[in-house]
Structure formats: C-alpha cells, structure tokens
C-alpha cells in the first residue's frame, strides 16, 4: 500500500509540476506584455516596475520560472486586469462556490442514480426496467443548457417555486467570505439565519438538479449493467435458489460488487460535472470558478484565465488521485493491476 501511495503521489506531483510549466508558458502564448499577463499590472501603471522586479522580468527563463513558482506558492497570483482585485482571493471564493454545488450535485446523482439503477436491475427486462433505461438514455442526451432553460421556465416562471439566478437574495446581506453560501450564512451575524438558509437552499435547487442530471443517468446505467451482470453469476443464482429475496440479493451481493466499478468512474463523472459547471454557472449566474473563467475568456483577463485553468485542472488531478488511492486501499486488486503493467 505504501509503495502504491508513493507511486501515485509521485505521478500527481509530476503532473502538477507539468501543469505549472504549462501555465507559465501561457504567459507567452497570450498576446501582450508577459509581466502584465502574469501580474495583471499594466505597463503604464506606476507599480509596473515593482512587478517587473518581483517577477524577474530581465532574468532568464529558469529564474523567471522559479520566481513564478515562488509567487504561486505564496498565493501571490497577481491582480485581475479588469477589476484590479487580487486573483487568489477571488479564486478561492469562486472555487468554494463551485465545489459546493458540485458536491451536492454528486450526492444527488448518487442518491438517485444508484437506487434507480438497482431497481431497474432487480426488475430486469420488465416494463419498469425499460422505462427507467430509456429515460436514462434520453436524460443522458439532453444538452445541459437546454435542460437548464426548460427547468427555469417550468419551475421558476410558470410555477413560481424557485428563484432563477444567484446564490441568495442579496438583501440578506450575506458577505461572501468563504464563497460557499451555506458556510457564509452560518458564519454571518445575520439575525435571519434560518430564512437566509432556506433562501440559499432554494437558490441552489435548480443548479444542483441540472448539474446532477447527467451523472445521475450515467450512474444509473452503470449500476444497472453491473448489477445485471452480477445477478447472472452462479453464486447469486445459488443464493436465490436458497430463497434469498431479490431485494436482499441486490443490496447484499450486487451493490457491493458494482461499487468498485462506479468509484472508478467517479473521476470521470467529477470531471464531467466540472466541465458542465461552466455552463450551469453562467446560466444561473452562480459566482463559481466556471463562470469566472468564462467571463475572463470573453474579457481577455489573462491572469484570471491562468488561475482558473490552473485550479480547474489541478482539481481534476487531485480528485483523480484521491479516488485512485481510495480504490487502492479498498480493493487490493487495483494495486496489483497497476504493478502488473509498471
């Protein structure tokens, strides 16, 4: 296990290191002044000379890269070209906002996808199964941006249940400290915490549902297919023959077996959700990292683009690492597989 852990960790560090080099190179790929792209300080600004010094503007590339890395580690990520506010502070806030709906969306996807998948498998080839599985294929094929609009029209406009955009009614005066709205409400001194919390949750429903829809359908299909496979194994037939109810078979035997494959897929699902969060956030005006990146791309705000890309890609890498380690820990066979090829 230790060897496995070290091995994975090395690859993670290597990947992140390559990522920083890539992100460093972006400063040259973007048009305009390199130091400005890094620091967000325009050449005409009185602070430019200082930024130039701090980032080793006249030294060679290696020294510049070491300065760059140093700044990255010290969380001195420069300022936004547009708002002239520090990038790092905004980056953490937007990241937390995204992470919040991502986590809830993943939870919702698991809570809906897995039971429905198991249900379909338990009723294999029955009408229930057919309905569930065709819904899943259909649901998997709806473009998220279309689904989001349809849901807004239905549940916010036609039936006025839910708000359309934002994190919370701004009149609750919740300061975005951490970025995660639920935590911010908890931390706030507001006298109306309960109301604010309900309001924040209502704002969250639509983005979370839209974000969860695709992974939920994926999980459903995966769960059903693996479960069906397990159900046809001889040992399951044996326990069935001894009179174990189909429900018990599914929960006791099929599900634990299906979980491993699903955890392997969770990395992919997480990445998918991260990508979709760009679309969902921009539709629901959610102050997350995806919509932050999108605005930066449109406004050509290079320091922000860099930071957002760095964080998004690093997140997928780290999440991949965590799931990998978890799988290696829970299912020793994974460790052996890895060494089989290494």
């Amino acid at each position: 296990m230790t060897r496995f852990l070290i091995n994975r960790l090395l690859y993670l560090v290597l990947a992140i290191w390559l990522l920083t080099i890539f992100s460093f190179c972006l400063n040259w790929l973007f048009p305009g002044d390199v130091i400005t792209n890094m620091s967000g300080i325009r050449p005409l600004s009185p602070n430019y000379d200082m930024a130039f010094q701090l980032r080793g503007g006249d030294s060679n590339l290696f020294i510049q890269y070491s300065y760059y890395l140093q700044n990255l580690i010290n969380f001195d990520w420069g300022v936004s070209l547009v708002s002239q506010k520090p990038v790092w502070a905004e980056a953490t806030r937007t990241f937390m906002a995204t992470f919040e709906i991502l986590l809830l969306g993943l939870l919702l996807a698991l809570l809906t996808g897995l039971p429905l998948g198991a249900l379909a498998a338990a009723r294999y080839k029955s009408p229930v199964d057919k309905v569930i599985i065709s819904t899943a294929i259909g649901g998997y094929s709806i473009p998220v941006f279309w689904l989001a609009q349809l849901l807004i029209l239905l549940f916010a406009v036609k039936i006025p249940w839910l708000p359309i955009t934002g994190q919370i009614d701004p009149l609750y005066l919740i300061e975005p400290k951490t970025g995660s709205i639920l935590i911010d409400v908890m931390l706030s001194q507001s006298e109306h915490k309960t109301d604010a919390l309900y309001n924040a949750l209502a704002h969250m429903v639509l983005p979370v549902v839209v974000l969860a829809s695709l992974p939920s359908m994926l999980l459903l299909r995966m769960m059903r297919n693996t479960t069906v496979e397990v159900m046809q194994k001889p040992y399951v037939k044996a326990v069935r023959a001894r009179g174990l109810s189909p429900f018990r078979v599914v929960t006791r035997h099929a599900v634990p077996n299906a979980i491993q494959g699903i955890i392997q897929q969770l990395t992919f699902i997480f990445g998918l959700m991260l990508a979709n969060s760009v679309i969902v956030e921009s539709i629901f005006n959610w102050p997350g990292i995806g919509s932050w990146l999108l605005k930066a791309i449109i406004e050509r705000d290079y320091p922000v683009i860099q930071a957002a890309l760095l964080i998004l890609v690093a997140t997928t890498l780290v999440v991949n690492f965590i799931f990998d380690i978890y799988r290696g820990w829970r299912f020793p066979i994974v460790r052996e597989e890895r060494y089989g090829t290494a």
Partner: protein
C-alpha cells in the same frame, strides 16, 4: 437505500418550506430594494466617466450636486447650494452653501467635519486644475467636462468664506448652470481625499466612495452586486428603505424573468413588448419621452470611412425602418437628425437616407469600394435607452450590407473593455448612442462630434471638422435663442451631408417595477434616482 429513506423527507420539507408562498416576508426583504442593473460600473466617481451604467449606479445615490434640475417646473433648484447669483454680467457665479451637511460615515472613513467650501473647491479642482494632487489619479480624463468645454469655461473656483464659493468664468455661457446640475458635477469629500493621500492610496477615492448622498457605499463585487445602506444623516428627506442592492444582470431576458418572479424590484430597459405579452398585473411599466439618439458611428480616421460618399452609401444600404420594427418593436421613432424632434433646435433635413441598396452600391462604386469589402460593426453588449439590443441590430445590418457586397463582422466585448477599445479607435463602425445630460441642444453636439471630444474618446466617429466646431462655438456664446436656432439648423444640415454618424432612432425610455415600489425617479436628463424610494407592502 436506508440513506435515501432518511434524506428524502428532508429534501421534500426543504423544498416545501423554501417555496411556500404563504410564508411571511422576512424582515430584510421588506426593508430593502433590489435593482437589477445591466452592467458593472467602471468606478464610483461619475466625474471620470460618461457611461450611463456608472452614472445610474453612483451619481444620484452616493452624491449631491450644488444645484439640481427640476423637470416638472423646468427650473434649477437648490441642492448643496441654498442659493446662487450671477455677478459681473454672468462671468462670476456666487454659491451660498448649505450648512450642516455631513459626509458618509463608513467602515473606511469617519468625517470629523461637516461639508464646506473646501469640498466644493476640491471637487471642482479635481477635473479643472491639472496641477491639483488628484487630477491624474484614475487616468486624468474627465470626458464630460472636456467634451462640454466646462474645463475651459471655468477660470477658477474661489473660496469667499467657509460657506460661500465663487466660480469665475472666462465668458458668459448659457449652458453653465445646466452643466452644473448634471450627474457629473458631484461633490466629493476633501477630508477623505486628504486622508487617502497620506495613506498613499489615492485611487481608493474612486473605488471606495464617500459622498453626501442618500446612500452609503458598502460593498461591490464585480459581476454580482453593489450594496448600499441608507444614509441616516441625510440632509433632506431620504429613502424609505434601509438597503439598496444593485444585482448585476446583463441579460435582458433574465432581467425580465427575475422581475416576473419577484427577484428584482425594479429593472431598467425592460423588453416592453414581451412584458406586455406576459400580462403580469403586479408589474408597472413606466414610459417617458427621453431625449436620446441611437446611431451608427463611422470611424472617420480609417480608410475608406474618411470619405463622406462611402458613409452616405452605407447609410443608403441600411433599412432603418426594419430596425425600428424588429429591434425597438415600434417603440421608437426613426431619426433623421441627431437631435430629437422634441428639441427646440430641431430641423428636418434636406437629404433623407431612405433604404436604397442600388443607390448604395452605385455610390460605393463611385468611391472605389470593391464588392467583398470587409468591415467591422462594433455592437454594444448592454441595453441602453437608445438601443435595446445592439448585437441583434448589427445582425440586421450585416444582412443589409451583404446585399450591397459589404461583408461585415460583428465585434463585441464586455461593456467596459468595449468602451476602452472604442476610445482607442479600434473600430471601423460602432453602434452606440447618447442621451442628453441636460436640456440644452449643445449637449448633443459638443460631447459627440466636436474636435475636443475626439481626444476624450466620446467622439466615436473621431470626426473633427473646423467649420462645424466654429458653428458650435458661435451657438454657445450667445443667449439669443433665435440666433442659436439658426446656427443649430445649419449644424444639422452639415452633419446630414457629411454624415460622420447615421442617426437611427429616438427611443422611449422605459422602466419596469413591482407595483409596491414607490418613489423611484427617472429624471429626463440623467440616471435613475432612488432618493425617495420606498416599498408599500401589505402585511
């Protein structure tokens, strides 16, 4: 499965409680007002800008002026100055200031003294005197004052005593008071500026503002919100709400939907025809005749737009009536002059640019513009009074231009970058517009088309015509209305023939709000004012 069973009821309860319409409205929502604005302000000091978005967000909320313009009585009324008098045949104005006016007390500044003559002098010298400490903070451009010539007109601002100020002019000027009453001539705190200068963070003056207005600045988060608190020490009748929030919502459709769902209390630039088709009873739509013009400016610095024939040809190529129908839904009037017909200086022009593709092609050939000529149309990313959807308008024009063999590409950036790039003259042509800051017709000409406005960047056509400038100067230096009228008539004829810009429409100004919102004012000249805003909720 067990997990599911226990969480499901929780989710359902949450949904039901969160959505239940029966709940009493929580206190913060009753005490505050949400205005869904269309974009980010560039800063919080209207002196530095001409953008309506910034003016809407700051001028009437954070600041006061020396005098105000009352539209109903069409007179100037006292604000920070209680009274004023012209001296020395109109070349010196004496202002008597109001006593007992305090500046905002915020978490970044606590005033130790009340408003006095020093603040007025500081505020004027900021844009007037290039040697003043703060002149170059924020770039040193004061487009409104340069474009109206106010910086040339005023010679000095002199303190007579603690509560009396003299403004000395170089010559008598008929538009002086009108310009002082605009949203741009705000009064800042000299004490705050002094403190910031000591701390060496002078740029904070424009990002963390302090004024005397009905609201205090609390927080701004780009792309999301601006928060204001009521100023409890306001010197006149203040608002009936505690909090004012600008929720930044650039998408017009989303803004309308948020009004329908009650997430916004007031929205600017509603899609009127759509709102009417929704038939929502609790929503009020206010409309007002507004002195504005949406136009298509040609960058006359660039080939071939420096040739009047080309500009005329392009004008003939555009079906402006179709634009009025499709973009304004008929809520606007086809413009044939830059001045709206309601202005006393308006005149009909001799040459009408009706839709005529053949003639356009013929003129283009004559000017030597080959078929397949490529150009850009810069379209504003936000809605303005004078143009509800510039990008869509650009699409219409794109296909009109394709008919005469001109390939147009549509360019659009975020609003502030868009304006910055326009000022640098990166565009070939641009769809922009103007609405009047005051009742004087001069406000349509000098800020938009004078040579002085080229350098400040508000002359989007980059058009500088000496003869035209002379007419404007002659018109401003006389108070004889009949003579001025003649001069403005000839100015319009000249424009019509030179066509640095093609006027498209004079539009109505609309605003939609919930019926329980009261006192939100749309002064005909200038931004929106929440000074008397309140909410009348039934309990």
């Amino acid at each position: 499965m067990i997990k599911l069973r226990s969480t499901f009821p929780v989710i359902v309860t949450l949904l039901v409680t969160a959505c239940g319409g029966e709940r009493e409205i929580p206190e913060p929502l009753r005490e505050g007002l949400v205005y869904c604005s269309e974009g980010n302000p560039e800063g919080f000091n209207p002196q530095l800008v001409t953008s309506g978005t910034t003016v809407d967000a700051t001028a009437a909320q954070l600041y006061d002026r020396l005098i105000d313009y009352d539209a109903s009585s069409q007179q100037f009324v006292p604000a920070l100055a209680t009274r004023w008098q012209p001296l020395d045949e109109g070349t010196r104005y004496r202002f008597y200031l109001r006593e007992d006016v305090s500046f905002h007390e915020t978490d970044y500044f606590s005033p130790s003294r009340k408003f006095n003559a020093d603040d007025v002098i500081f505020s004027f010298n900021r844009w007037l005197d290039p040697t003043s400490l703060y002149h170059n903070v924020g770039g040193g451009d004061y487009p409104f004052f340069t474009a109206t010539g106010l910086d040339k007109l005023i010679k000095r601002v002199v303190k007579v005593d603690r509560y009396t100020v003299d403004i000395i002019l170089r010559n008598a000027d008929s538009s002086f008071l009108a310009n002082l009453a605009t949203d741009f001539a705000v009064i800042l705190s000299a004490e705050y500026a002094g403190q910031l200068a000591v701390k060496e963070t002078p740029e904070q003056l424009d990002t963390q503002p302090v004024g005397t207005g009905p609201y205090r600045f609390r927080r701004f988060r780009k792309d999301y919100f601006i928060r204001y608190n009521r100023n409890p020490d306001y010197w006149r009748q203040g608002p009936g709400i505690e909090h004012l929030v600008y929720s930044i919502t650039p998408n017009a459709n989303k803004r309308m939907l948020k009004l329908v769902t009650g997430e916004c209390d007031v929205i600017p630039y509603p899609l009127v025809s759509k709102l009417q088709s929704l038939n929502q009873k609790q929503i009020k739509v206010q409309s007002e005749v507004s002195p504005n013009v949406g136009f298509w400016a040609f960058n006359t610095d660039k080939e071939p737009f420096n040739d009047p024939t080309v500009r005329q040809a392009l004008a003939f190529a555009i079906n402006r009536q179709a634009i009025i129908d499709a973009i304004y839904y008929g809520n606007a009037e086809l413009a044939d002059s830059i001045l709206p017909p309601t202005s006393w200086a308006y005149t009909t022009t001799s040459q009408q640019y009706e839709y005529n593709p053949e003639k356009a092609r013929q003129l283009l050939d004559q000017a030597g513009v080959e078929p397949g000529f490529k150009m850009t149309i810069w379209a504003m990313p936000v809605q303005r009074v004078y143009n509800p959807n510039a990008r869509r308008m650009a699409e219409l024009m794109q296909s009109d231009l394709a008919q005469v063999g001109v390939e147009a590409r549509i360019v659009s950036y975020e609003w502030n970058s868009f304006r910055r790039r326009l000022s640098r003259g990166e565009h070939d042509t641009a769809l922009v517009g103007w609405y009047a800051d005051n009742a004087d017709p001069d406000n349509f000409f000098r800020p938009l088309l004078s040579c002085a406005a080229v350098s400040t960047g508000s002359n989007r056509a980059n058009w500088c015509h000496r003869g035209f400038d002379q007419i404007l100067v002659n018109a401003i230096s006389t108070t004889d209305t009949e003579k001025r009228k003649q001069l403005y008539h000839s100015a319009q004829q000249l424009l019509n023939q030179q066509l640095p810009l093609l006027p498209i429409a004079h539009s109505m100004r609309y605003q939609a709000q919930q019926d329980y919102v009261t006192g939100v004012e749309l002064p005909p000249y200038g931004g929106i004012s929440f000074r008397k805003a309140g909410k009348e909720l039934q309990q």
